[in-house]
C-alpha cells in the first residue's frame, strides 16, 4: 500500500490517546482531578504535580486528562450535529423547489445574522445548561454555516455530468441523492469541519466560562483556560497546558482529516 507520512501517524496516535483518555482517564493518572489541597495552590510543575497545580491545589495534569471527555464531546459532538443537520438541510435546499430553498436559506440567514455564541446562549436559555445542552447549543449555532456551503455544492453537483450519467443509467432519485449528491456535497465541508472542531471546542469553553457549559468543579479544558487567565502572570502552566491540549487536538484532527480526504480522492497521503 501507499506510504503514510510520519506526521499523519503521529497525529493519529495523538487522537487515539485522546479518545482513550476520554474513555478511561484513570489509565493516565493516579491523582483525582477534584481533590483540593489548600496547602499546595499554584505550584509550578514538579515530580509530584507533572503540570503543576491550580488555585485550589488541584493537579493540572489529571484535570486535563479528566477534562478530555467533556472537551472532545463538545468539539466533535457539536460539529457532528452541525454537519448532519446542515448537510441534510443544505442538500434539501439545493435540490428542493423554490419554497423549500427559500425557507431553509432565509432561516439560515437569520442564524448567520447572530454571532454563534449568542445563538448558543439562546438554545441554552431554552434548554438549560450542562455539557449535553452545550454540545447541542453549539451544534445548532453552527448549522447555518454548513447548510450554506452544502447547498452551494449541491447546486453545482446536481448539474454535473456524473449525476446525469447516474440518472441515465436508471438509478432512482433517492439513490442518486444518497450515493452521489450527498457524499460529494459534504466532502468539501469536512475540511471546514476539521477546523470547526477546534472553534467548537473553544466556544464550549466560553460557555463553561459563563457557567452555562460543563458545571464546576468538573474539569474541562476551556473552563480551565478561562479561570487560568486571572493567574497567568503568576502561574503560566495553569493556562498554557490546557491551551496546548486544545491546540494539539485541533492540529491532530486537521492533519488526520486532510489525510483521509486525500485518500478518499485517491491521492497520496
Amino acid at each position: 500500500m501507499r506510504r503514510i507520512r510520519p506526521g499523519v501517524w503521529l497525529a493519529a496516535l495523538v487522537l487515539a490517546l485522546l479518545v482513550l483518555a476520554a474513555a478511561l482517564p484513570y489509565l493516565f493518572t493516579g491523582q483525582d482531578p477534584l481533590t483540593v489541597d489548600s496547602g499546595a495552590t499554584l505550584r509550578p510543575p514538579s515530580a509530584e504535580h507533572l503540570l503543576g497545580t491550580d488555585e485550589n491545589g488541584r493537579d493540572v495534569f489529571s484535570r486535563i486528562v479528566y477534562g478530555t471527555r467533556a472537551s472532545l464531546l463538545l468539539g466533535f459532538g457539536a460539529i457532528a450535529i452541525a454537519l448532519a443537520a446542515g448537510g441534510l438541510l443544505g442538500v434539501a435546499a439545493g435540490l428542493g423547489n423554490r419554497f423549500v430553498e427559500n425557507l431553509i436559506m432565509r432561516l439560515s440567514d437569520v442564524g448567520l445574522a447572530f454571532p454563534e455564541l449568542l445563538l448558543a446562549l439562546v438554545v441554552i436559555t431554552v434548554a438549560g445548561g450542562g455539557t449535553t445542552n452545550a454540545v447541542l447549543a453549539i451544534g445548532v449555532a453552527n448549522i447555518p454555516n454548513y447548510a450554506r456551503v452544502v447547498r452551494a455544492q449541491t447546486l453545482s453537483i446536481r448539474r454535473s455530468t456524473y449525476v446525469e450519467a447516474a440518472r441515465a443509467l436508471g438509478l432512482s432519485g433517492p439513490r442518486v441523492v444518497f450515493r452521489h449528491v450527498l457524499p460529494n456535497a459534504v466532502k468539501p465541508v469536512l475540511i471546514l469541519a476539521t477546523i470547526g472542531v477546534g472553534t467548537a471546542l473553544v466556544a464550549g469553553s466560553a460557555l463553561s466560562f459563563l457557567g452555562l457549559g460543563t458545571p464546576p468543579p468538573e474539569p474541562e479544558w476551556g473552563s480551565m483556560l478561562s479561570t487560568a487567565r486571572a493567574f497567568i502572570s503568576r502561574a503560566w502552566w495553569y493556562g498554557v497546558f490546557p491551551g496546548a491540549a486544545i491546540t494539539l487536538t485541533v492540529i491532530s484532527v486537521t492533519v488526520v482529516g486532510r489525510a483521509l480526504r486525500l485518500r478518499s480522492e485517491g491521492r497520496t497521503w
Binding site: 450519467a165 447516474a166 443509467l169 436508471g170 438509478l171 432512482s172 450515493r179 466532502k187 485517491g266
Partner: protein, 534 residues
C-alpha cells in the same frame, strides 16, 4: 531568407524529468512553421520556453536559442517583457480564459499598445479599432467596449489575435489557435492567420491537428515524447512522411477514405462490410424543445426533428455548437422532455411512463459523454463504477465482479483496471471505462455525445475502432454526435446535419457528403481543413 528564431538542442526538464529533449528548429522571416504532436509531446512547453514563460522549477538548456540575433538564454525578466508582446506575439488556445473576463476586449488590446508603443491615449483608441477591423471584427468601435463573454467564440479568438499583433511583432506564436472553435469559424481564423503571415512577419503554430497545419504551414516539425521525429517542407512531410510515427498519425485521421477500415494498427486491405440494420430501436417524431433565455423569451433549441435508428446501425448528428445536437440526444435519452413530438425506444414512448417504468426503459438506451472523467463520481473506483451500473441492470451481487471483468475485456482493458480510479487512467482508458459502463445494462442503443473530441488522434482512432468492434459483436445501435465531419463520415451509416435546431439535411453519409443538397452542408464540407494524402 534568414532565420528569425533559431533553436538548437533545446532541453527542458521539470524535476529531473526531461519533457523536451534535444529539440532544434528555425523559423525564417515570412515563414510559417508548425509544431505538431499529441498531448504530452512537449510542443506547448517548447512554445512557452520561446517567450521565457517555461515556469518555475523548469531547467532550460540549449545549444542555441536566439531571436533576431539575440541570445535568449541568459535574458533577464525586464528584457523578456520587451520581447514578449512587443517582438513575439502569443496567441493562446481558449480566448475565453485568456482574456480578462472583467475588461472590455478593446482595453486588452490597448494595454499591449501602452506597453510597447509610445502612442497617446487617443491614438491608442483609434489604433485598437483599426486592429480589430484588421482581424475581421465587425463594428470594431462597438466590439472594443464589450466584455469577452459578450462576444462569440470566433470574435473572441480574433480579439486575442489582435492583442498578439498589436505591437507589430516579427514572430507570432499560436498555441492551438483554433481547437476550441467550430469548423466554419476555424476556417475563418485560419484564413486570418494566413493573411497575417507576411514578408516580415513569421508564424509558429502549435497544433495536434495535421489538417489545420496543412492549410497554413510552410514547414512542419512532428514532435513525440519531447523530440522532433521528423521535420521538413509541409508538402513533403504530409504527403510522403518518412517517419513511422508521422505515417501512423496521418493514417489515424478519420475521413472519407478511411471508411470501413481500421484506423489503429496495421491497415487492412479489405473493407469491412457494414452489418445489415435490424428493427427500429429509436423513433423520434417531430420533436421540438424551447428553453427560456435570461431575458424571459423562449428560444427553440430543437425544432421538428424526426429520425429513426435501427439495430446495428450508426446514425450521426453533425452540426456546430448551439445547433441542437446535444438537446436532440437528451430528448432521445428521455432526460429532456420535448414540448412537441414523440420519442419511442424499442416501441415504448417516454411520455406517459411512470418513474419506475422510465428507469427500466433507460437500460435500453445508454450514453457515453465527451468528458469521461466528469461522468464518473470522483469518489469511485472503476470497480464501483461498473458494479453500480450492473446493480441497476439487475445483475446479482455475486455475479457482478465476473461481469465487470467481461465488460472490461470487451473494451480492451482487464481485471487490473478494476481497482484504479478514473483520475489515474489515461484519456483513452477513461473513455473505454465509460463505454463499458454504458454497455453494462446490455442496451439496444448507445448515444455517443462527442465521444472522441477530447482525445488525441491516435487514441481517437483506437476508440473509434473499439466502438466498431463492439457494434459488430453486440449489434448495438449508435446515435453518434460530433462536430467533426471526418469522424462522422468514418463512423456513420446515415447522418443528420443540424443547424439552428433544425435538421437541414439527412441521408446516407456517402450521399450527403458527396452530393450535399443543402447549402449549409456544402458550406460545412468546404470548411473542413483537408489533407490530400492517400
Amino acid at each position: 531568407m534568414t532565420a528569425l528564431l533559431k533553436v538548437e538542442d533545446l532541453r527542458v526538464a521539470f524535476g529531473g524529468t526531461a519533457v523536451v529533449d534535444g529539440v532544434g528548429f528555425e523559423v525564417r522571416r515570412g515563414e510559417c512553421l508548425a509544431l505538431v504532436g499529441e498531448s504530452g509531446s512537449g510542443k506547448s512547453v517548447t512554445a512557452r520556453t520561446l517567450v521565457g514563460l517555461t515556469g518555475d522549477g523548469a531547467a532550460v538548456e540549449a545549444g542555441e536559442l536566439s531571436f533576431a540575433g539575440r541570445d535568449l538564454r541568459r535574458m533577464r525578466e525586464r528584457a523578456w517583457r520587451r520581447i514578449r508582446g512587443g517582438r513575439i506575439g502569443f496567441v493562446l488556445q481558449d480566448a475565453l480564459v485568456s482574456l480578462d473576463p472583467l475588461r472590455p476586449v478593446g482595453r486588452e488590446v490597448a494595454e499591449v499598445l501602452a506597453a510597447h508603443t509610445g502612442l497617446s491615449r487617443a491614438a491608442r483608441t483609434a489604433r485598437v479599432a483599426e486592429l480589430l477591423a484588421e482581424v475581421g471584427v465587425p463594428e470594431p468601435e462597438l466590439r472594443a467596449r464589450q466584455l469577452p463573454h459578450e462576444l462569440s467564440g470566433g470574435l473572441r479568438q480574433r480579439a486575442l489575435i489582435a492583442t498578439a499583433i498589436a505591437a507589430e511583432p516579427e514572430l507570432i506564436i499560436a498555441d492551438e489557435p483554433t481547437t476550441a472553435l467550430d469548423v466554419t469559424i476555424q476556417a475563418q481564423v485560419l484564413d486570418l492567420l494566413a493573411r497575417i503571415k507576411s514578408e516580415d512577419r513569421s508564424l509558429l503554430i502549435i497544433s495536434h491537428d495535421l489538417a489545420v497545419v496543412a492549410r497554413l504551414a510552410d514547414r512542419v516539425a512532428v514532435m513525440k515524447d519531447g523530440r522532433i521525429v521528423e521535420q521538413g517542407p509541409a508538402d513533403r512531410v504530409l504527403r510522403a512522411p518518412e517517419h513511422a510515427y508521422t505515417r501512423a498519425l496521418l493514417a489515424a485521421i478519420p475521413a472519407e477514405h478511411t471508411k470501413g477500415t481500421r484506423l489503429s494498427g496495421p491497415a487492412e486491405a479489405v473493407r469491412l462490410a457494414r452489418p445489415e440494420p435490424g428493427d427500429v430501436v429509436v423513433r423520434v417524431d417531430g420533436a421540438g424543445k424551447s428553453f427560456r433565455g435570461p431575458d424571459g423569451v423562449a428560444r427553440a433549441a430543437v425544432r421538428d426533428v424526426s429520425f429513426t435508428l435501427r439495430a446495428g446501425e450508426t446514425v450521426g448528428i453533425v452540426g456546430e455548437s448551439g445547433s441542437g445536437k446535444t438537446t436532440t440526444a437528451r430528448i432521445a435519452l428521455g432526460l429532456t422532455e420535448p414540448d412537441t413530438g414523440s420519442v419511442e425506444v424499442r416501441g415504448r414512448a417516454w411520455a406517459g411512463l411512470g418513474r419506475a417504468e422510465a428507469r427500466t426503459l433507460r437500460r435500453d438506451i445508454q450514453v457515453v459523454y465527451q468528458d469521461p472523467l466528469a461522468s464518473f463520481d470522483p469518489r469511485y473506483t472503476v470497480d464501483k463504477v461498473l458494479a453500480e451500473a450492473l446493480a441497476v441492470a439487475g445483475v446479482p451481487r455475486e455475479r457482478r465482479r465476473e461481469r465487470s471483468v467481461e465488460l472490461l475485456e470487451l473494451v480492451g482493458l482487464d481485471e487490473r483496471h478494476l481497482r484504479r480510479r478514473p483520475l489515474h487512467l489515461s484519456g483513452g482508458q477513461r473513455q473505454r471505462v465509460a463505454i463499458a459502463r454504458a454497455l453494462a445494462p446490455e442496451p439496444a442503443v448507445l448515444v455517443c455525445d462527442e465521444p472522441v473530441s477530447a482525445l488525441d488522434v491516435s487514441v481517437q482512432a483506437q476508440v473509434l475502432d473499439l466502438l466498431d468492434d463492439v457494434q459488430r459483436r453486440t449489434g448495438v445501435a449508435y446515435l453518434f454526435i460530433s462536430h467533426d465531419l471526418g469522424v462522422i463520415y468514418h463512423a456513420c451509416d446515415r447522418v443528420l446535419v443540424m443547424k439552428d435546431g433544425q435538421v437541414v439535411e439527412q441521408g446516407p453519409v456517402e450521399r450527403v457528403f458527396r452530393e450535399p443538397e443543402h447549402h449549409y452542408t456544402r458550406e460545412l464540407i468546404a470548411a473542413i481543413p483537408r489533407l490530400t494524402t492517400a
